[in-house]
Symmetry: C2
Subunit: 208 residues, 2 copies
């Protein structure tokens, strides 16, 4: 999916093609968020003024690379999880038997279709943790980029939440639904607050 | 810039290359936001259930295309505005004369470097207006995508704000600085609230 040019990605996202959808777009925006952290890390490394944090930044850079890779993979996984779901919706529902079979297939597909955006949400939270460390240790000349990254990661987290809810909302397995939704609620509570803190600190350090 | 693949764009954003930076990334995320509106429009057009709004959606689709084009252009304009700024920073400042000349060139470059993210912010606000209309008229089956689009547009607006402030903060023309910052403050106040309203309505319509 991400081998397309940025222009093509916009065009296919705009189209009525089933994928990429909002979930995949969130994974990509989360990746753009942590990429801004990597940029700040790259501008910090090798600078005399920041030699005290050189080793910490190197560790951060590695973590960011791993996370970016995970988020890129989630763009494709989100597309893959959509197909079983659309197939389930396409099953006939004329007889009671057909209805039961359709529901069984649908309930199965909903599990995968919820897990992918939940994983996107988890990755966006990791991005926010890393961006917090960049905001504390990275070069001051690119501090605004850390803030932009945190805004992106927060938006992608909240967008991923909507993509979980559209699926868990149809789930009949109440204990699974409850477990997913309560993890999500806790992630959103904790990490939107953390992202807001990063952005406020960045703005303060810009305007003084 | 956007002719690169999505993967390359992530890589060059992560690098210490001066462009794309946070500003260009905001323009692209704003474009992804309104692209999700276009998607919802495309899924709505031609559907019997939504024939009452068919003409409204067609108008919306055209507005979204224009806006997407503007935001794509702003990715490149952001990169172009960076060069005069980095050239100004590179000028010598050994004598009083050099300092004065450097400051003159820098103050000029700051105007362009502020205007581009201000235009990105304005476009993100237009995106939020359009997404609000999609949330009211678009097909219910893709309502989560409108919410994701609004989260993206809001994040891009707030990110663009940081990119304005890093430049206006160094401006000596107090009346221009004041005019830009007060327009920006008003846009952020009005449109973050509007985006939050869209997202809350979307979440409500998902979970009931």
């Amino acid at each position: 999916m991400l081998e397309k040019s940025c222009i093509e990605f916009l065009a296919v996202l705009s189209s009525k093609e089933p994928v990429p959808g909002g979930g995949g777009a969130c994974a990509y925006v989360g990746a753009l968020g942590i990429a801004l952290g990597s940029m700040v890390g790259n501008l910090t490394l090798g600078k005399k003024k920041y030699q005290d944090v050189e080793e910490d930044i190197k560790v951060l850079q590695e973590k960011s690379e791993t996370l970016k890779k995970e988020l890129k993979e989630l763009v494709d996984k989100d597309a893959e999880a959509f197909f079983p779901l659309s197939q389930a919706y396409g099953l006939p529902k004329n007889t009671e038997e057909e209805k039961a079979e359709r529901d069984r297939v649908l309930q199965n597909a909903l599990v995968g279709a919820s897990e992918v955006p939940l994983n996107i949400a988890r990755c966006c939270c990791k991005a926010i943790d890393l961006l917090e460390e960049y905001s504390e240790k990275g070069t001051r000349i690119a501090i605004s980029d850390v803030g932009v990254g945190a805004y992106f990661a927060k938006a992608a987290l909240l967008g991923a939440k909507l993509n979980v809810l559209i699926n868990t909302n149809l789930m009949k397995n109440e204990s699974l639904k409850g477990a997913i939704e309560s993890e999500l609620e806790e992630l959103v509570r904790k990490y939107t607050e953390k992202a807001d803190g990063i952005c406020a600190a960045v703005e303060k350090s810009i305007v003084g």
